[in-house]
């Protein structure tokens, strides 16, 4: 149960993160994401499915290594994302060229690759795992296509939105501080 709530919180915080700096929701997105991640990772390693609400929900109980796979995925993914951010920063994409940042970033990326492929909880990846995951990936793709369809449908049936209202004081302050930061002004 905590893992499902944690996953939902992570999705919501990623959505808030895409809303833009003028929204209050955007400001709490990083801390909310960390709370969601902690909830996912707090799922007991030795928890049996019989202890989880999914057991009664699906009417079929058993044991699974899903909790350990989830925790393991979160660890190598966090390592990969941190490594990519450091390497991008060090490579000069978002700042000056920096050998230390680039080196640490690459060490983290390589550690993530080794961790994700070699020390997998279910052993090395097999063709069976690939075959088992293919229908899920196809389901995700078709799901994305259906979302595009639903969006097109709603745009066809709803009249265009009226012009957006002007910015309020908080929003104006946020925009001014961003512009000042990027243009090097004093924020006035």
């Amino acid at each position: 149960m905590p893992a499902i709530i944690g996953g939902a919180i992570c999705v919501a915080s990623l959505s808030w993160n895409r809303m833009g700096p003028a929204y209050r929701r955007r400001r709490i997105a990083p801390s909310t994401f960390i709370i969601g991640l902690i909830l996912i990772l707090s799922w007991d390693f030795d928890s049996k499915i019989t202890d989880d609400f999914l057991c009664s929900f699906y009417g079929s109980c058993g044991t699974s290594d899903l909790s350990s796979v989830l925790r393991y995925t979160a660890i190598w993914l966090a390592l990969l994302v941190s490594g990519v951010a450091l390497a991008l920063n060090g490579a000069g994409s978002y700042g000056d060229y920096s050998i230390p940042s680039l080196s640490v970033g690459w060490i983290m990326i390589l550690a993530s690759v080794i961790l994700s492929l070699v020390f997998h909880p279910s052993g090395l990846l097999t063709v069976d795992t690939l075959i088992k995951s293919l229908p899920v990936i196809v389901g995700i793709m078709i799901g994305l296509l259906s979302i595009i369809g639903l969006t097109a449908l709603s745009e066809n049936f709803e009249p265009p939105l009226p012009p957006a209202s002007g910015l309020d004081d908080d929003e104006r302050d946020a925009i001014l501080s961003i512009l000042a930061k990027h243009l090097g002004g004093g924020g006035e």
């Binding site: 939902a8 959505s15 057991c55 699906y58 390497a87 799901g143």
Partner: protein, 94 residues
């Protein structure tokens, strides 16, 4: 009894439908969010969750577990992309 590939398909579809509904609620703006989109998305999510609730728990758990395992291949892809970016930006390389 639902065949395993179809079960996996329903699991994947349900995950993305649920994630989209959560996204719509998280980014809801009064007067701006499309009510038709929210309604159709909720209907889509409810249907897919109802379908997946009829699947065996072992299959659902196994499908999600296998997908997360396959996700580890993305680390190789990410490292190749990063290698290209790093090599392109080495001072004096261009």
């Amino acid at each position: 009894m639902t065949p395993a590939p179809l079960s996996g398909f329903i699991v994947g579809y349900s995950i993305i439908a649920l994630a989209f509904s959560i996204h719509l609620f998280a980014t809801y703006r009064s007067g701006s969010s499309s009510k038709i989109l929210i309604f159709t998305s909720l209907l889509n999510t409810a249907l897919s969750i109802w379908l997946s609730s009829r699947l065996s728990n072992d299959i659902v758990q196994g499908s999600i577990s296998a997908t997360f395992s396959m996700l580890s291949l993305s680390s190789i892809l990410a490292s190749f992309v990063m290698l290209k970016i790093t090599m392109n930006r080495v001072p004096g390389s261009s």
